[in-house]
Subunit: 299 residues, 2 copies
Amino acid sequence: MTTTKTESRLPVRFGADSRVGVVAGGGRLPEAVADALEAQGARPYVVLVAGEADPAGPLAAHDHSSMELEHFASLVPLLKRNGVTHVVLAGEIKRRPRLSKMRMNFSLLATLPRIALELTLGDDGLLRAVLRYIERRGIKVVGAHEVVPELVAAEGCLTKAQPQKPDWRDIDTAREAAEAIGALDIGQGAVAIGGRVIALEGIEGTDGLLARVKDLRSHGRLAGRMRGALVKCAKPGQEARADLPSIGPNTVEMAHAAGLAGIAVEAGHSLVLDGPAMIERANALGLFVIGLPAKGSTP
Amino acid sequence: MTTTKTESRLPVRFGADSRVGVVAGGGRLPEAVADALEAQGARPYVVLVAGEADPAGPLAAHDHSSMELEHFASLVPLLKRNGVTHVVLAGEIKRRPRLSKMRMNFSLLATLPRIALELTLGDDGLLRAVLRYIERRGIKVVGAHEVVPELVAAEGCLTKAQPQKPDWRDIDTAREAAEAIGALDIGQGAVAIGGRVIALEGIEGTDGLLARVKDLRSHGRLAGRMRGALVKCAKPGQEARADLPSIGPNTVEMAHAAGLAGIAVEAGHSLVLDGPAMIERANALGLFVIGLPAKGSTP
């Protein structure tokens, strides 16, 4: 099993003549990244992906523009016009571009591997192709965890509640399953209850997974079973510069609604959004949130 | 990877002094087994598991009684009182017995491995323990596929529609995923669309999985994607005398509603219920149903 690349990179420092772009998908991560950059005195340039990032949300407070997914060919020129030297791809892109609507240019056509154009790759393969495409045009792609290292999940229990002995069985079982489906590039999350995996994440995402677990509580096979754990894992060999597993206050809220006792992520390979708010909420609800030692990590 | 045991057993023939019991869970399989036994001139004795088999359904036409899951200790005496020498465990048991309601006897307490009593085993481990428990008391456990070999899925395409080239990519990808989660004793089914696995079966079962795929059709990542395939696989090393993957007319109906192009199962390791009705329905809806050559089977 290969390791993820998170820990092999040092935090990025930006010079006076560099500017960071944030290509913003859905969720809270893009906002966290842009705000952290502002707080560091940098002036990020945000590209809101249409249909994913809210153009009327907090991201609009930054210097920004919007882009259709199908106009990806215009991304690099747009970033360059705005002096961007480094770019962070942050947030969820639920949609996949429709080829029929795609505005092509020769550069895009010539460079993106045909296989990526066919969009038949897993998320990770597609991401790598996009990253390579951008970097070959002279813009460096950095990971959210490099720009905002304070978002990276630390090792150890983050909450007052700690996993109990049966919870550890749930954590271990769910982690094994999350790793197995990660290796197949299917999803990042698994839920175990009573020592058994009962649900696996597909494209519905973690929120969808937890909503399902809530519904499954009435399933006969879970009768009388309490607790349970959600585990999210980076895929083995995952491109850490995009799509690291993340959790936040909403994950805690939904895990609680699903009757789970807590959440475990891999320390160093996962992002925690709105950390203080998340921990406060977990403590109020009595859930544990824990950063597990990463397996086979190469510091 | 070990092979399932389906093909290593010969069809069972019953002598004049033998009687076959059918422990009936949910679904259509128990009825198919009991009816086939009647058709063979045998007179099955049916034990309806309360809450799973319908006591007012067609099974009640056979010589029968009902049993609470928690009264499992009384199963062997009940079967013996009715002259049963061989028993088939057929159909789905969604519920797991509640220990607090369980009627114990010394025999059960002494014999069932403690680990099985704790109900912490996977389905397969628990089944094996139950099978062993029954056989040690002198009743032979036989598989539905041994009693009703005509239910076993044959190799090759069963329908007018055949998998197209992109369908084969879906079939191969979903099969790999179904085998992976099977190896972890999580579930039997996976759905791939556009060459990618988008949903995996947990305890919600195949119907739940297909209902979810139907909902996911509106997910951005599936925009413009047609077709897709459901693959069901026996777990590697699965106890074939219970819980073989099965499909039937309802599976076809739900796969169609989920927008899938067809269904693939492993030939020899899967059961087809109401075969003629299923094929007729698949042909009417234009779906393919195919029996894949079993991997590494030992004839």
